[in-house]
Symmetry: C2
Subunit: 538 residues, 2 copies
């Protein structure tokens, strides 16, 4: 029974959900779209396509009329130097021997498995079984997979409604996996975590964007960010049209985070009419590698509490601490241990499966824990999450695994522990070797990599090099990095991509190349640096 | 050798990348941060934490001061009705028998595997093998996996630099996988596709956001969207601060897309000062289920060409066509067959692993093909992609698999074809059964579901029901949907969530419940509808 649509209630305009040109009927208000006349007009317009055409022509899309916020955004980790490196790599493939090196060494990005770090076996076993659960009951599977991986896969499938690893999940992530993560956080911190506070995301980056999107209304809204910073923050603030309020880490005190500096920058921002809404802290630091002391963390919490700032804690390197005198403490643990609860401070912590000893960058798993917001605001965060439906289920599963690895007594425990220990101790050795090598270079100083995956040495460049860079219309540290790449195949990111105290020059170098390649890197770098200084010492 | 940082070049301000409060030195300009006096001041400020504190206090985050664009955004597919359904589901679990139904039937969202659709075996075999490649060489693997899945996994691993499925990839996606997808597109269309035009994303949603972010500068920028539309578009336009310019699909002609309507709405928008930048077309339609005819598609391409509009083609349901008289044609194929090449029209096509016969929503795989933009604009799109590093590798692999499934002669070909055919033919039967049932209801008309996964019936609601809805401060179709849910456990999305001709009322219902459940759904729906009409007929 097909019937005509009722237009009786045409005046009952439904609520619109965004700016919409009001248009109470499909065609002109005086002409019902279903009238014979309208149909006739449509028929004629088909015969003569241009008869009803407007003389309107939209502005074609050019670089001059796209969203200027996109133009403003920069992300140096994958910028110009990396493009040059990719070209060189192709050259080497097409014409072996065409350069004074035989491979490109990507020290620009924290991407361990691209440099031959092997994935943790237990994690991959569980992921494979969850991807293809129909083999779980087969006898051959016992020979291929560890018993606890099989058991874990069963447990995880039980937590997924309908065991459907191919279905969209709850927009915050599968509840059972969030329960597991919350338990892992409680075991880590000694304070409870609420699974309803967790939002699982495709890596940590979308979580950062979500918070920036929530907090930033206009360029009058500011976000306090460390300088140097991980460029995701400057990029996200630019894309959302806010203002980055810099606070400088003190290189002299091992990239110390001074409260007086926060206070000074907050005051300066306020005097310029900026409403500062949040403070970003990266701990362990990226690109700086420092690990905050507990007392310092307490000061930071106190500062945010007093100033009413949201504390955005980037804690993705929480498993990457290499020095015996430092330990990772989550900001949640610190604030709870100070007696501050849900209503005292707004705190968001970001975590990722891409870092730590697992380094599963390609899986795009991560989450944020959101505490200290009103239920109404929380609902808005949920809505933002729901627009993209959910994060990928393999990444969700992996996020639960990193927070609940094999335990003593599990079949995989020993091999898992050995894999973990081998990776972390090797990273610590590589960090120390590279740090020492850098400090041995003329005009270079490098703080300890206490944690994370990077060194961020300061290069005291000769005036002649700075002048040559100016003539080449490039930043002096980019000038240095390009010379380094062309001479050695080593890819680093110029400090200007992370920002730095004006007039100082740095580069970020990961500690991730395979350990057996480190001596060659050190000698190539040392040789290059000496030549560079000889050329430009003036 | 630790040395002091050179401040000689302090005036060489490095280029900043976003709005940043200028601050040429870490503390006040007249006091070097490393001077003994500054250290002394810092020391005192530690002793008396408040001595240097500003009197500034940030505005705490409340619902009244978050980004208003977030508040404006709505996403009905996971809105209020779904929240009620989740509560009911918990009730049923806690108190079986507490409602007149024993399960919640989620017909609100295109999420096939949540309703027991099984994943395609070949795809999952390959994913599992790529997740845990170390089993590839083991003899037990031959017994568990098909030979062509093993071979395919080897091929894919060869395409991934270092065989590292856990590494970040190129920000557009792994080149070898893009090659495979491009070949699949060429086989589909008969026109070449360039792998460098492909951007692999976590599902199609992030790709849509990326384009909106690129195109929208302010509320003066408009995007032409079909009404009814998939609410991702209204949500994304709201989040990016643009204006949705509606064009109405003609329900009378099976949700026809009339060029005269596009012209009319474009003119109206222009008269209001809106710069319309793009046209969104969803084909097959969501929520409407129509499949565009080839002649109509040519008119649309001509319209975009003439008006200089970017054509944003949502083609995620390209494998979901259920009627013999319709066939899917990509807009790329249509425009190339009209002789329009790269420089004639800007065209973006979205595809996803979540739909089709595979329905792998939880894997978050998808891509967009971007053609007809200048290299400079393309570079900006690449930059946007690079800020989030890359999409998840399993999703990337799956995107390549759906575009290159097993072929005649492959071991899996027959079982693959049987699985595919079973799903698609069942979907076609379910669509027809539900369509007929809906058309048998008093005051309900429902167009054919020619494609996609939805029916979007029009309900001619009695005045008394509309009045009751007004009193309950809810839209009449939401009023109907809530009554339906409470009486039957069936979850549908009110038409107002997709927008509709004002004064008409609809709901979106998926065709995805298991086939054996369809008769019960039909009888429950029919019984409910009769009672509802009896109650409100007045």
């Amino acid at each position: 029974m097909r019937r005509f649509i009722s237009h009786k209630t045409i005046n009952l305009i439904s609520k619109t959900t965004t700016s919409t040109i009001s248009s109470s009927s499909p065609n002109s208000p005086s002409l019902s779209p279903n009238s014979p006349l309208a149909s006739l007009l449509r028929f004629f317009s088909t015969l003569h396509p241009s008869s009803m055409a407007s003389d309107y022509s939209a502005t074609p899309i050019t670089i001059d009329n796209i969203n200027p916020k996109v133009l403003k955004c920069e992300y140096a980790v994958r910028g110009e130097i990396v493009s040059i490196a990719q070209t060189l790599q192709q050259n080497l493939k097409d014409n072996p021997g065409s350069h004074p090196f035989d491979e490109i060494l990507y020290c620009n990005i924290g991407n361990p498995q691209s440099l031959a770090q092997q994935p943790i076996t237990f994690f991959r076993e569980v992921l494979a079984l969850c991807d293809h659960p129909s083999i779980l009951d087969k006898s051959e599977t016992q020979g291929l997979f560890s018993a606890d991986a099989i058991e874990r896969a069963f447990q995880i499938l039980e937590q997924i409604p309908g065991r459907a690893t191919g279905a969209y999940s709850h927009s915050q992530g599968i509840k059972g996996l969030r329960d597991t993560i919350a338990s892992g956080m409680k075991a880590r911190d000694g304070f409870p975590a609420d699974p309803n506070d967790l939002f699982l995301t495709d890596g940590a980056s979308p979580a950062v964007h979500m918070m920036m999107q929530l907090l930033i209304r206009s360029e009058n809204d500011g976000i306090l960010c460390p300088i140097p910073q991980y460029p995701l923050y400057s990029a996200s603030i630019a894309l959302h049209g806010g203002t980055l309020v810099p606070y400088y880490l003190d290189e002299q005190t091992g990239w110390g985070l001074e409260i007086s500096e926060l206070e000074h920058q907050l005051k300066t921002a306020k005097s310029k009419g900026i409403d500062v809404r949040a403070l970003v802290v990266i701990n362990p630091g990226n690109p700086t590698g420092q690990v905050l002391g507990e007392a310092n963390q307490r000061e930071i919490v106190e500062f945010c509490k007093k100033e009413g700032l949201v504390l955005l804690a980037d804690e993705v390197y929480q498993e990457n601490v290499y020095v015996p005198d430092k330990k990772f403490h989550s900001f949640k643990k610190i604030s709870r241990s100070m007696g501050y609860g849900e209503t005292d401070i707004s705190l968001v912590s970001f975590q990722s499966v891409s870092k730590g000893f697992y380094g599963e960058c390609g899986k795009r798993g991560g989450y944020m824990e959101v505490t200290g917001f009103s239920p109404e605001v929380r609902e808005q965060i949920y809505k933002l999450a729901s627009v993209n439906l959910c994060s990928n289920i393999s990444g969700q599963i992996l996020a639960s695994l990193i927070m609940s690895p094999p335990k003593v007594g599990d079949e995989s425990y020993e091999s898992f522990s050995a894999e973990k220990e081998a990776i972390l101790s090797s990273l610590a050795r590589r960090a120390k070797t590279l740090e020492d090598a850098l400090n041995n270079l003329e005009g270079v100083t490098c703080n300890r990599a206490e944690g994370a995956m990077y060194l961020f040495p300061c290069i005291n460049l000769p005036d002649k090099a700075i002048k040559a860079a100016e003539e080449a219309k490039t930043a002096p540290d980019a000038f240095y990095a390009k010379h380094l790449l062309n001479a050695t195949g080593i890819v680093v990111v110029p400090g200007s991509g992370f920002r730095q105290v004006p007039g100082t020059w740095h580069f970020r170098c990961t500690i991730l190349p395979q350990e057996e390649k480190i001596p060659a890197i050190v000698s190539r770098l040392t040789e290059f640096h000496k030549k560079f200084m000889d050329e430009f010492r003036g």
